[in-house]
């Protein structure tokens, strides 16, 4: 873990999640960060088309549905980020020639969208009982015009920022699994943002643990 410089603040907006809220999918979750809200549904391991099957691993498909209209290029790029992260953390070799499908529906976008997708995806995959080797979470950082690092920015803050970075952080060693950035920034700023994201991810992982603990607290 890198050291955090004093001038950055690691505050996240209020976040919450709900598991198993949909009755048809094998696992579902909603994740809310401030005003950004996302719904995720996971299906699997299910039947796969012969053209898409892989002989030794499961085929993971991620679909991101925007609020209005059909998925476009931006959704495809986000899907690729989420899919790469999920493939690195799921144990795909346990279900060869099967398909795992993850559908992410955008409810409301108020900034930090990709990290909200990542968090909802992780909780939905856990809810579906798919075997995972590690958990992951998403953290977004924005660098505003003054050089300040803002974690979990709102849409207004994102618009005024000169750089926006989203990192997927893994739970066991706090390493960066995926990064998606836009804008211009220096190497030093990148390293600072990674350190800040690693620090912020601890809160999210603690939240995962608390929410799963609450879910299993009822003795059936």
């Amino acid at each position: 873990m890198m050291e955090v410089c004093g001038s950055s603040n690691v505050t996240l907006r209020e976040f919450g999640s709900e598991q198993s809220l949909l009755s048809r999918p094998d696992g579902s979750a909603s994740f809310i960060q401030g005003d950004t809200s996302v719904l995720a549904a996971a299906y699997g391991p299910a039947e796969v088309k012969v053209s898409k099957e892989i002989y030794d691993r499961a085929t993971l498909e991620v679909l991101i549905q925007p609020k209005v209209g059909l998925p476009g290029v931006r959704e495809r790029a986000q899907e690729q980020c989420v899919r790469e992260t999920c493939e690195a953390s799921l144990l795909l070799s346990l279900h060869p020639r099967s398909s795992l499908t993850l559908i992410l529906q955008l409810i409301h976008d108020d900034g930090s969208l990709l990290s909200c997708f990542l968090n909802a995806a992780c909780v939905a995959l856990m809810d579906a009982g798919l075997p995972m080797s590690r958990l992951f979470c998403g953290v977004t950082c924005a660098i505003d015009a003054d050089g300040q690092i803002i974690t979990d920015p709102t849409a207004a803050q994102e618009k005024e920022s000169r750089a926006l970075m989203t990192f997927a952080i893994d739970a066991t060693e706090r390493r960066v699994m995926m990064s998606s950035t836009r804008g211009s920034f220096s190497v030093h700023e990148l390293q600072q943002c990674i350190a800040v994201s690693q620090k912020a991810s601890e809160k999210i992982f603690q939240f995962y643990r608390d929410s799963v603990r609450r879910r299993y607290s009822k003795t059936l």
């Binding site: 279900h95 009982g129 075997p131 590690r134 299993y216 607290s217 059936l220």
Partner: protein, 295 residues
């Protein structure tokens, strides 16, 4: 030199039942210990296994997340006079061995059964086939000598027409497309197509076979199906206070129920589907209201 083995066996439990699915041994003391190397104490590694065993035992009943691990740590001070005992930890669903660590791969509660079985108790809806489990399947294709049965998994299982009690090449069983079969898996691993049979190892049906005249098939979560099948099941005893009915429980989460009237059948089906996430007092209250005729 004495060796301790860590036997990690994966199995699928119904509550109280165990059938081996996959087993592998790995030596805790590596077999290439040079006899001249006096520093490599064979007692060291076996103490590591019991350290992991006690680490696991501490966490029994706790909620664990994927990525939590139990490592084989060697202790610093070892008693040289202690006898080397082979220690075994048997791992069930949700626990995997990776290298010399035990990795949790599903979220849930860690459970323990004497003497050394550990597994993750998780709530799940999608069924993954395992050898020896009895399921309710629907016949989808009848082609030549083999039926294809849909049991809710990632591919359809095959059921040979000879795998019924008293079936021969001349005396074929009366199975049509769309029939329900209660059968058990004889081949169920991730690399091969699952295979079902409707006879046990001695050739008797033992309750398995075609059924389904009348009655209703519905799905519940896997946890409820396992709870219904466990010995001294509370849900089952609560259900017996209601109307008399026939109930078939498949471990793939499918239940079939038939009662004396259609209305009673529907009531029982709805009750079972809704009592999935209820605690015991809530469920008993619900069943009591149903018995009184309020529902």
């Amino acid at each position: 030199l004495k060796y301790s083995f860590l036997c990690v066996v994966l199995f699928t439990p119904a509550e109280g039942a165990a059938g081996c699915r996959l087993s592998f041994l790995f030596p805790v003391c590596p077999s290439d210990i040079s006899p001249r190397n006096n520093n490599n104490n064979p007692c060291e590694r076996s103490c590591g296994v019991s350290a992991m065993f006690s680490g696991l035992k501490d966490k029994v009943g706790e909620v664990l997340l994927p990525g939590d691990e139990f490592s084989l740590e060697t202790e610093d001070t070892i008693s040289l006079t202690e006898r080397v005992k082979p220690e075994k930890v048997v791992c069930g669903p949700g626990l995997r061995r990776s290298g010399d660590r035990l990795l949790v791969c599903k979220s849930g509660v860690l459970r323990h059964k004497q003497p050394n079985m550990f597994w993750m108790d998780s709530q799940q809806r999608r069924y993954v086939p395992a050898k020896g489990e009895t399921i309710i399947g629907i016949v989808t294709v009848k082609s030549g000598d083999v039926f294809k049965v849909d049991f809710g998994g990632s591919e359809q299982a095959s059921l040979s027409y000879l795998a019924f009690e008293g079936a021969t090449k001349r005396n074929r069983p009366n199975v049509q497309v769309g029939d329900l079969v209660f059968s058990q898996f004889v081949v169920a691993n991730r690399d091969m197509e699952p295979e079902l049979v409707c006879v046990d190892s001695s050739g008797r049906a033992n309750g398995m076979g075609v059924f389904g005249g009348g009655g209703l098939l519905f799905t519940v979560s896997l946890g409820l199906a396992r709870r219904l099948l466990s010995p001294h099941s509370e849900v089952l005893s609560d259900l017996q206070t209601l109307f008399p009915c026939e109930l078939v429980v498949g471990m793939n989460g499918r239940l079939w129920v038939r009662s004396s009237s259609v209305q009673q059948t529907l009531v029982i089906a709805n009750l079972l589907q809704s009592c999935d996430t209820m605690t015991a007092p809530q469920r008993q209250d619900l069943f009591r209201r149903a018995a009184q005729g309020a529902l």
